[in-house]
Amino acid sequence: MRVEGIRLSLGGREVLRGVSFEAADGLTLILGPNGAGKTTLLRAMAGIYRPDAGVVEVEGPLGYLPAEFFNVDMRVADVLLAGGGRLEKYSWWLNVVGLAGYEERIFSTLSTGEKKLVLLAKALAEGRTVLLDEPTANLDPAHKALVMGLLSRLKKVKRFIAASHDLDLIDVADSVVLLRGGTAVQLRPEEVTDEELSKTYGARIRSFRLDGRRVFALDF
């Protein structure tokens, strides 16, 4: 799977100015400041936007966890079945994300994190390649650990492309794409130094090693 030199303008502004990266097997993490174009890039890969130039090569079937969605007052089962499919398959994935027995609950009454997990279950059930927009936002530490564990195990059988501000995901990633100024730099996770991150976000970021994990500190 790859993206080659895509350019894309929205509302008269060129958001992506020749973005290229390769999404091999495993998890590709897209990092970049607010408004950098991460969601735009995922939408272009999903076929919502047609780029002004460049190519997008995707290998389906695709799943998509959107960062924003409509707060529909349907049962969770109807949300999972939307677009068609079998409930047993979706219920299995609902179990996997820790929401066993949620089928009859009304989607709009769930908490922000629960809604995210329902849509994550849907995306995992539907895609061999799964595009994830902010997969860990709004999750408590336990659910975040659950999702990170899930992604690191499932990335052997599925391909993930995740956009996030969660720097902890660097430890789960096989490749990191830094989006800045409308262009992309692709690095291996160990090449994502504190300097690269500080430059990407325009803030001073330092990290430390603790039990083999990278821990981040932000100066303000």
Binding site: L42, F69, V72, R75, D78, A82, G83, G84, L119
Partner: protein, 248 residues
């Protein structure tokens, strides 16, 4: 979206009246039968398209645009009918077009209306899971092979066509399309199209039949159907709003 609130039915009414205008200008009384539904469809579509364009994704803007568009088309309908009324006293009265009368329906046209209604309801039921998906997320729709903007446009055209067929024959009947799905939603506690489509069809038929019975004699004199459906609609709107505020 109720075709009454979206301005669709007012557009259809103007189209139907425009067909009379054209027929009378050309002195050909038979012409309008052929073109009435087509003109009603064209203007219904124009009204829906204008509403959606001005509303551009924002629900409040869409409702306000719909009200404005429906007043605009109603005003044009009144102008056209006032002009026509003197020359053609046999025409249905202005109140027919603006507020709806079921009295003028004949059996030949009934079959067409029944077929159109069955087609729309049947298609909506078959498409319910896809309608749900488009209601949830453009992104998920797109990866599942649905182009959400095209899909919404296709439904806009289909519903404008059905509305045009109805309005050309019975005038503008308001609020049924708005209040019935709301009642169904509250009763079922489920906004999925799989539940709402059959429930709304059944409840809509019941509501309109009862409203028609009341409008045609229960008060001792005949009133337009919209007066009755609107009278029922207000308490339902209040209920729906307080329901929405409670957020359950």
């Amino acid at each position: 979206m109720d075709p009454y609130i979206a301005g669709t039915s007012s557009g259809a009414a103007l189209g139907a009246v425009a067909a009379y205008l054209a027929a009378s200008a050309l002195g050909n009384a038979y012409l309008f039968f052929a073109y009435q539904a087509a003109l009603a469809f064209a203007l219904a579509l124009a009204a829906s398209a204008l509403t959606v364009t001005f509303g551009r994704g924002n629900i409040y803007a869409t409702v306000i645009a719909g009200v404005a568009i429906s007043y605009l088309f109603s005003a044009l309908t009144i102008l056209a009918l006032s002009y026509l009324a003197r020359a053609n006293p046999q025409l249905p009265p202005i109140t027919f077009w603006l507020f709806g009368y079921l009295t003028y329906v004949d059996y030949k046209y009934d079959a067409v209306l029944a077929a159109a209604a069955a087609a729309v309801v049947g298609l909506a039921y078959l498409e319910a899971r896809r309608i749900d998906l488009v209601a949830i997320s453009d992104e998920i729709s797109s990866v599942r092979g649905i182009r959400p903007s095209r899909y919404r446009l296709a439904w806009l055209i289909g519903i404008s066509l059905a509305t045009a067929l109805v309005v050309a024959k019975v005038g503008v009947i308001g609020f049924v399309g708005f209040m019935v799905p709301h009642i169904a939603r509250i009763l079922l506690k489920n906004g999925s199209a799989t539940a709402l489509v059959p429930a709304s069809a059944a409840l809509g038929a019941l509501t309109l039949t009862l409203s028609a019975a009341v409008s045609r004699g229960a008060l001792g004199f005949e009133v337009p159907v919209t007066a009755i459906t609107s009278l029922i609609a207000v308490p339902v709107m209040v209920l729906a709003l307080s329901h929405a505020r409670r957020g359950d």
